[in-house]
């Protein structure tokens, strides 16, 4: 094993493959794992979170766009944020810090916040490359997210 991967690009060819990447990260996630998802409407973010939840043994996932955050019980609690409706989200007032350390936090539309406020996190950018194909670009910002990427089996 060399140095844990810092960045990774993976192409998927079906919604099931995109969800599977989420499942792999869910299986490897630990308390304090933070995934920052970036990508346009329909890029597969919520689908990826469904996979992530499956990897954590959690049940149904629905879009939190309207309520801004959903919690799901699983092997670890999942806090699923969606910043779509917010121009300038204020993380403390969303309750972000209540879940940051003891849950797996996954945040859609994470580009709406300054990533320096997030701490050690795995940023995942979703690019639409075709009707069912997507390109996922992973970038670890610190030791914990590097270790996650390494242990996920994706690299």
């Amino acid at each position: 094993m060399g140095t844990p991967a810092e960045a990774l690009i993976l192409d998927t060819h079906s919604p099931a493959e995109t969800a599977e990447l989420g499942r792999c990260l869910g299986a490897a996630a630990r308390a304090g794992t933070l995934l920052a998802l970036v990508g346009d409407l329909g890029a597969g973010k919520t689908l990826f979170v469904k996979g992530l939840a499956a990897g954590l043994g959690a049940g149904a996932v629905t879009s939190p766009t309207f309520v801004l955050m959903n919690l799901y019980p699983g092997r670890l609690r999942i806090a699923h944020f969606d910043l779509y409706r917010l121009e300038k989200p204020d993380l403390p007032s969303l309750g972000f810090h209540d879940y940051r350390d003891d849950s797996v936090v996954v945040m859609e539309w994470a580009d709406r916040v300054d990533e320096r406020l997030l701490g050690d996190h795995l940023r995942i950018e979703f690019e639409v490359t075709g009707e069912d194909s997507r390109r996922l670009m992973f970038r670890a910002s610190g030791p914990a997210s590097r270790a996650l990427l390494g242990s996920s089996g994706l690299a």
Binding site: T46, G59, T62, L94, G130
Partner: protein
């Protein structure tokens, strides 16, 4: 029995006084829509501040319009779930303060149950069992309602809510916020068969609207969703009409399937999307063909209002489902495991 109801789960600050779950003495709704339109959606920090500013005058006006005082009210009811937590807390705190100060019982009401009760307010003779379809920006669910206060969940969206899909598609089409009325308006008079989107109808009674949202995106911006929108106004209207027809077909298909499976002969629709003119038309026609009766409350009872909260509190009170001052706001929906 006179009940003061308070509703602050999203972007409307509302208070109402309703007698015996039927007679609406007052119903005051202070909408924040103009503030939120600037941002293209409801902004929670702003919603909370607006609720705090409005709640006291709104409650005072509801009491004044009803020609009564707090002392003359028999109970206080408030929406305690689900919604934006900060927004819910404003109403819950106000209701608890009023109940404590005036020595009145307090009742916590589920917002979704309130939407279903809107039909009882509009149609006091509505009988049970019936299938209830609640469609709004945050919810899309089917219930078997055994009474006005007992509802069994039959199915729910597995991704986006129908109203959320309307909002997002309106944004893709650059039609403005809120998306539902905007799409309804431009789609009127257009041929919904000109642009056809695939209907996703799960075998069970769930819904899925994320696929159609993505399909609209491709239709408008090309296969990689990157091309800038180059549609003329009539083309946009056709996409809007095709999208609306597809969503309505999915809602109608599942609602009628719910009737077939439960044996219920009535469908009562509630929530903001119940205002949609195409849904009203199509559901009424198709349900009639199957001998199913449909109920749609008037638009003012479809969107968020406190009359439905004060209304349902009466049967809740009679059933002994009374809360106390430990009542708390519960923001998230209950997720099925």
């Amino acid at each position: 029995m006179k009940i003061l109801g308070i509703e602050t789960s999203c972007d409307e600050t509302s208070a109402a006084v309703v007698v015996d779950g039927r007679d609406i003495l007052s119903d005051v709704v202070q909408s924040q829509i103009d503030i939120h339109r600037i941002y293209g959606g409801v902004v929670p920090e702003i919603a909370c501040r607006a609720h705090i500013e409005s709640i006291y005058p709104v409650v005072e006006k509801a009491l004044a319009d009803a020609g009564c005082t707090l002392a003359a009210v028999d109970a206080v009811a408030v929406t305690c779930a689900p919604g934006l937590v900060g927004a819910l807390l404003v109403g819950v705190s106000m209701a608890k303060a009023l109940a404590l100060a005036a020595g009145k019982p307090i009742l916590g009401v589920d917002h979704i149950h309130g939407h279903m009760y809107a039909n009882k307010l509009a149609f006091p003779d509505l009988a049970y069992p019936c299938v209830s379809l609640v469609v709004s920006g945050g919810h899309t669910s089917l219930y078997l309602s055994r009474s006005e206060i007992d509802h069994d969940l039959l199915g729910t969206t597995t991704d986006d809510a129908a109203g959320e899909a309307f909002d997002k598609v309106a944004k893709i089409l650059d039609l403005g916020f809120p998306g539902g009325p905007a799409i309804d308006r431009v789609a009127r008079g257009r041929d919904p068969g000109r642009v056809v989107f695939k209907r996703t109808v799960p075998e069970n009674l769930d819904f899925s609207f994320s696929g159609i949202k993505t399909a609209v995106l491709y239709r408008v911006r090309g296969q990689d969703a990157k091309k800038p929108m180059a549609l003329s106004s009539p083309e946009r209207a056709d996409v809007a009409a095709g999208f609306q027809a597809a969503v309505v077909d999915m809602l109608v298909a599942q609602a009628l399937k719910a009737c077939a499976r439960t044996g219920a002969r009535r469908i009562a629709v509630g929530g903001g999307v119940a205002c949609n003119s195409w849904l009203r038309e199509v559901l009424a026609v198709r349900a009639a063909k199957e001998g199913v009766e449909t109920f749609f409350p008037p638009p003012r009872f479809c969107t968020d209002n406190a009359a439905m909260i004060a209304g349902i509190a009466y049967p809740l009170f009679k059933a002994g489902r009374v809360g106390d001052l430990t009542l708390d706001a519960v923001p998230t929906k209950v997720h099925r495991g």
